[in-house]
């Protein structure tokens, strides 16, 4: 026994030594790397059975999905379909979820998902919902952090390239959606070269019901035709304001690469939404015709419904004194970030080397003194020097986005020079810088966009992967890097691939979400109109050529599993209720030749899949989720007869 232990220890030591030297040799010839690597490994290692401290929600970009990762392990837990059809679960394929992807353009089962933001109460993350934006066909979605499923999607009228979205105010009063591309408002047929002065940029404030989370567009601020790139809410002292970065204040409609980079300074637009609320409460604003979809998933009926809304309230900012000001900001700013105290508004001029920091107090003073530097289409422009708090002389190139820790530091990504720069709020001194691999876009610190950041980890999301992983052909998943930021110096501790293209992320401590995570849908709370609550409710009903199969599942059979009397030309709806009431026992359903995806039905849930049989025969269906030792037995048959057949409808199980 003793010998064995010693033997084991020796092997382990040798192995460890080999690993260390191995790693060291593979590094950049730095002898000290071995020890460093081992301590980094300890920091990210989450032992089998152990759990991560943080959930990270990374946008999936053109996948239309949101991905869930653990920190510090970088393990991916889930991909949540939002603006996409997802055969893994049947989202966007099942009859219940198809309405979620309805828009004024019809069914749009794709989008470019950009910026997740977790709901807040008193400026702190509350872990109830996460909001995300669809950039292409402008939409905002709300994902439940108890089911990790998309519960609501609202389309944004008068908007295009919904990019300065979906950021929330500190009590989740609003989720905000700003247009990147200005367009004719309302849309109309007009010459493109008449853009200047005629196109408009809509900034949309969507109210969020504090109980249900349901979204409703409260008003749209119709701004000059700039590009509204990113936005962030004021917090603490600046609560009540919202800040949007702009570029293309040149109002170019062609070759923006050159033509939108002419002005030395663009603007950060400061919107006093409380002032606008007052104006509306006093009867201000103009209700105009619109056409946009509002899609809501009801957790009791397990069903989404889509409603077309026909009007929207717009406000003209020039008619509301004191509601909107423009803060000159150098070099086509991208990131527009507000520090945890609400005092500093950080503009990252993406063609600049420096980071511009505006002061909220200075802004208020300048407004009070009415010291303006002219106006843009009637919106007062404040003097750059008056609002400036400081400039971070970074030495990097291409600042993009900033988040914060809980020690008074800011962390800014630099796309062109591929690095993260840590600097101190107030002194504007650079404290540390670390390379990223490569061309970092945004970064995320859990809570880094709230009054209470959790300053342990920083995730950098990169645009270029190149040589980081084994090559997988011309297309590589984007790389992300985790840095330990608990000390004075940042330490790169892990590197992991992401899915789609993460443009932004939000993160929070696991214990904020874990206790509320739903495990099953209770059968006795299932209000789906086609649910089968007991197996004796299983039946098949014909209504003309529509056939409704009320089916139940439990390990490991379908009730019914033999159905006859279906005819060619029928439209067969399989409404399947999973009778399991145990965590993590889904059943799947798939029908041969079906022109839609399989569905995965969670315990207690009802989902519907449509099949239109085209040929007579006996066609099998089966469970797609390995549910038990008898999963392979979980199957059934449907007999399909010619259209003119007189075989009666019948169904059975175990007979």
């Amino acid at each position: 026994m003793k010998y064995k232990t010693i033997h084991k220890a020796a092997v382990f030591t040798l192995l460890a030594a080999w690993l260390f030297t191995g790693c060291g040799n593979q590094g950049k010839g730095d002898n000290a790397q071995g020890a460093l690597v081992s301590s980094a490994a300890e920091k990210v290692y989450v032992a089998p059975g152990e759990r991560d401290d943080y959930y990270a929600f990374l946008s999936g970009g053109y996948s239309g999905n949101l991905t869930v990762y653990g920190l510090p392990s970088g393990r991916m837990f889930k991909e949540i379909p939002v603006f996409s059809q997802f055969p893994t679960s049947g989202y966007g394929y099942s009859e219940e979820t198809k309405p979620m992807l309805n828009t004024s353009h019809g069914f749009v089962p794709w989008d470019d998902l950009h910026h997740p933001d977790i709901s807040q109460t008193n400026g702190e993350l509350d872990g109830r919902w996460i909001f995300v934006n669809g950039n292409n066909t402008p939409r905002i979605a709300r994902v439940s952090l108890s089911t990790f499923e998309t519960e609501e999607i609202i389309e944004i009228p008068n908007s295009a390239g919904n990019h300065s979205s979906s950021f929330i105010t500190e009590n989740t009063e609003y989720v905000v959606a700003g247009t990147r591309f200005s367009v004719p408002v309302p849309q109309r047929d007009m010459p493109i070269d008449e853009y200047k002065g005629n196109f408009k940029g809509a900034l949309t404030f969507i109210g969020v019901d504090p109980e249900s989370g349901h979204m409703d567009i409260k008003f749209q601020v119709i701004m000059p035709g700039f590009n509204y790139d990113l936005s962030h809410p004021g917090r603490g002292k600046s609560h009540g304001w919202f800040f949007f970065s702009t570029y293309n204040t040149e109002e170019a409609s062609t070759l923006l690469e050159v033509n939108a980079s002419q002005n030395d300074k663009d603007f950060i637009a400061a919107i006093n939404w409380k002032k606008i609320e007052e104006y509306i409460a006093n009867g201000g604003g103009k209700t105009v015709p619109a056409n946009y979809a509002h899609n809501v998933y009801d957790e009791a009926t397990h069903t989404g419904t889509s409603t077309m809304k026909k009007e929207v309230l717009t406000v003209d900012p020039t008619e509301i004194p004191g509601a909107v000001y423009l803060l000159p900001t150098p070099k086509s700013p991208h990131g527009c970030d507000v520090d945890p105290s609400g005092q500093y508004i950080i503009g990252s001029g993406k063609l600049s080397a420096d980071i511009t920091v505006h002061s909220f107090d200075n802004m208020l003073k300048a407004i009070e003194n009415e010291k303006f530097d002219g106006d843009a289409y009637g919106i007062p422009i404040l003097k750059f020097e008056d609002v400036l708090a400081g400039t971070v002389k970074s030495g990097g190139l291409g600042p993009l986005h900033t988040e914060f820790d809980n020690q008074g530091n800011a962390y800014t990504t630099f796309f062109i020079s591929s690095e993260v720069v840590k600097w101190e709020l107030g002194s504007w001194e650079v404290v540390d810088r670390k390379p990223t691999f490569y061309s970092v876009g945004h970064l995320m610190i859990p809570g880094g966009n709230s009054r209470k950041p959790f300053g342990n980890y920083l995730v950098a999301m990169n645009k270029i992967t190149k040589d980081r992983y084994l090559p997988t052909g011309p297309e590589m998943e984007h790389s992300a890097q985790i840095y330990d930021i608990s000390g004075e110096k940042m330490e790169l501790i892990y590197d992991f691939p992401t899915h789609g293209e993460p443009h932004y992320a939000a993160g929070c401590p696991a214990d904020l979400i874990e206790p509320n995570s739903k495990k099953i849908y209770r059968l006795d709370e299932n209000k789906h109109p086609f649910a089968v609550i007991g197996p004796d409710g299983a039946k098949v009903e014909r209504d003309g050529n529509e056939v409704h199969v009320y089916m139940s599942t439990i390990r490991s059979h379908f009730t019914p599993d033999n159905i006859e009397g279906i005819k060619v030309g029928d439209k067969v709806y399989f409404h399947i209720t999973n009778h399991e009431q145990d965590f993590d026992v889904p059943h799947g359903f798939s029908m041969i030749g079906q022109n839609t995806s399989e569905i995965l039905i969670m315990p207690g849930q009802t989902k519907t899949s449509v099949w239109e049989p085209k040929q007579p025969g006996v066609w099998p269906f089966y469970c797609t989720d390995f549910c038990s030792a008898l999963h392979q037995e979980m199957q059934g048959y449907v007999r399909v007869s010619p259209a003119d057949s007189d075989i009666d409808l019948s169904w059975s199980v175990g007979e």
Binding site: L523, G534, S552, I554, R555, E580, Q581, S628
Partner: protein, 171 residues
Amino acid sequence: MRNYSKIIFILTVGMLLSCGGKNENKEEKFSYETQQTEKEQVAEESSSAENEVPASERITLDNKGVGPIKNITLDPEIDQAMVERGEALFKTNCTACHKIEKRFIGPSPKGIMKRRSPEWIMNMILDPQLMVAQDRCAKDLLVEFNGAAMANQNLTEDQARDILEYFRTLD
């Protein structure tokens, strides 16, 4: 030997499927018998010699099983309100596998009070996984019933108790 008969069974089923057509009933008996033989062999292998009686027919009234229920005292009077609640719960949560009038995926609960202790029944409802792992009778039942593991339906102790009361009416 068992493998051999399995191959024959698979081949037979395969032939039946590929032939299709009009004579669907012809070979059914043969395959049925083959399957039956296999099942008995499995049961014998896992039961020890002293337990020749199939688990479903064994009387284990002294065994309380393992799980949250340690001791239950039954009132001599059957509580009708509990029975009604228990019946409703049974209908929703259990009848997919347990039929009163026949053996189905699992055994019929008819007469179960004469075979099992109240504690054993409730433990089986409340934590079937633990029971199958640690209770001999539960383990043998799993084998006898094709390895169809009983689902944990996440019922409360009160709900399981209601179902037990309902079982008292099933003689």
